[in-house]
Subunit: 174 residues, 2 copies
């Protein structure tokens, strides 16, 4: 299964794509992760918010078309210490979810602490620890840049939790 992880932002949106084999219920930790691609979608800082969001939306549409993920995983917005930053992040997340929905894909959401805990074992890991563990888990030669490694971390989190997520989705859809 090809998973696209996204770390939304109104200036920079990180993306990371991995592939995982079918999970074996007898060996839940035994998923093989294969790295496909990661990078960042950016918009010039001097553009108005609607132009920045449109620019990143266009980039995300290209990523969805070219890399053809089966599912998308997105970092959830938490209660930000800076209210305006939190609202700007939520706006970027709304744009990302709309683009994913318009492409007919489903989005799974994961809290930042769960992503950190899944990837590093600690819910309070810093950006550098996440990047190093991501590099190790998907076998990258170089350290990915922070927004891209955060996006890969979301994708890895989905790979580890998707069985329970799939069950939840199925229950909701019945």
């Amino acid at each position: 299964m090809r998973i696209l992880g996204l770390d939304p932002g109104s200036h920079v949106c990180g993306y990371g794509v991995i592939e995982t084999g079918e999970p074996r219920i007898s060996a839940p930790g035994g998923n093989q992760l294969t790295y496909v691609e990661c990078g960042v979608l950016t918009a010039p800082a001097d553009l108005a918010m609607e132009e920045r969001l449109a620019e990143i939306a266009r980039g995300l549409r290209d990523v969805l078309a070219e890399l053809a993920p089966m599912v998308v995983a997105v970092e959830d917005v938490f209660t930000h210490s800076n209210v305006r930053s939190g609202l700007a992040l939520a706006q970027a997340r709304g744009m990302v979810l709309a683009v994913v929905g318009l492409s007919g894909l489903r989005a799974a959401s994961y809290a930042p602490a769960l992503i950190k805990k899944t990837v590093t074992g600690s819910g309070r890991a810093d950006k550098d620890q996440i990047a190093r563990m991501v590099q190790h888990l998907v076998g990258l030669r170089a350290l990915p840049r922070p927004d891209a490694s955060d996006a890969l971390a979301v994708a890895i989190t989905h790979a580890h939790h998707r069985q329970s997520t799939a069950l939840r989705l199925r229950v909701v859809e019945v």
Copy 2:
């Protein structure tokens, strides 16, 4: 000038379109407002967030294509007493801004208190007072439903403040 006002939400997005003559600088209060259309874009409550945002985005694209506004005015998200409601509103606002930006239009933002003050004279007016003043200002026979009248109120606010907004935009664009 044809103005589309939007009151974004992740379940219901109100829209309202008005037309205004060219402002006369000698008579700033003398703008003639003409009602064009108002309504609501909705998404079923049992859909996932990305499906709801996509459904409302599709409706908004149709509104932009059919009603061809020259500019869009959107209510700003304020610091909500309920953090989750505030983040959900911000997500809906991000979707709306991205759709507006993708269509090549600009979005002007107005704080809820300024909208209330512009339309009713009081920054603390309730929904019913806003709806009645909107009905009076654009000459509607029936009271519009709350989300639609809020959207018309944003459009009316832009009609009243667009000279200063246009100046600000010009300064930014130089």
